[in-house]
């Protein structure tokens, strides 16, 4: 059985995705030197990183050319696990007032 993934996209598409990912990295650096700080900056940075990751997974790793079954098996489960890890955050804000690592 041969993998169907490679072959649909041309080198031109690969180059466009490559340049887009590099440009988004530049956007991240520009964001770092804006006046925005804290949670808002984190959200913007992660939004750009997610776009980069999406482009990479779909075009470089050719997940978009695989069967929908595979995408459905991999993506929702991963996102669910990561969202559950998000539960950490509220506790870290609580700990800030107790300064556990400052001493």
């Amino acid at each position: 059985m041969s993998a169907p993934a490679i072959g649909k996209d041309s080198l031109k598409t690969d180059l466009v995705v490559y340049l887009s990912i590099l440009a988004l990295s530049g956007v991240q650096v520009a964001l770092a030197y804006q006046h925005t700080r804290g949670a808002q900056l984190l959200v913007r940075m992660l939004a750009v990183a997610l776009i980069q990751a999406g482009l990479g997974v779909m075009y470089f790793m050719h997940l978009r050319d695989e069967q929908r079954n595979l995408r459905l098996a991999l993506i929702p489960a991963t996102i669910f696990v990561m969202l559950m890890m998000n539960m950490f955050w509220s506790d870290s804000f609580r700990l800030l007032h107790m300064s556990p690592f400052a001493k």
Partner: protein, 209 residues
Amino acid sequence: MSEANLPIRAHAPGMMEASPFAIPSKKLVMWLFIISDAVTFAAILFAYGYIKNASPNWPEPFKFSPSILNVMLMTFVLVSSSLTMLIATRAAKNGDKSAAVRWTFITVAGGLLFALLHLREWSGLIAEGVKLFENPWGSPMFGATFFAITGLHLIHVVGGVIALTVVALGYKRGRYKADDIEIWSLYWHFVDLVWMFVVPMVYLLNVSR
């Protein structure tokens, strides 16, 4: 004879269930490994954010020059190596063995250059006094989390360099097939994508202004 009484032939071709995803099992295993590794990196980055949030005196040591410039160069090298890996995979799929091996080794060179730039970044910080549980600027956890995250990523890059070298040499000698080049290219792209999250979380959110 009822169906229940039919003799079962172990691993008979007709009784094997087709792959639910229509991909080779090796490729499915690589995808599952990538997913589990993505969750590992997510956990370590969440832990990093947790510790940073809970520490009031978190240092912001990364100056534009040399640190951020070095990180931008590292990003360029790593993303470019993903492009060369794509070219290698396409060549392998088209049966152009010499081009596939050549582009895979160019990717390996990119990985080695990235590792060298990473070590230069580390040595600069160590020279400034950053150690695992101590640094001149603030929370002592900074060094531990910084070296843990970037170190784990660096191990993945070095592992990828070794794996791509072995697969490229094996492919040249006929031991491995084009599918193997494609499967290991998935790993290499994954290492590249993880860096997209490490850079903003570890470096860009801690720039010195």
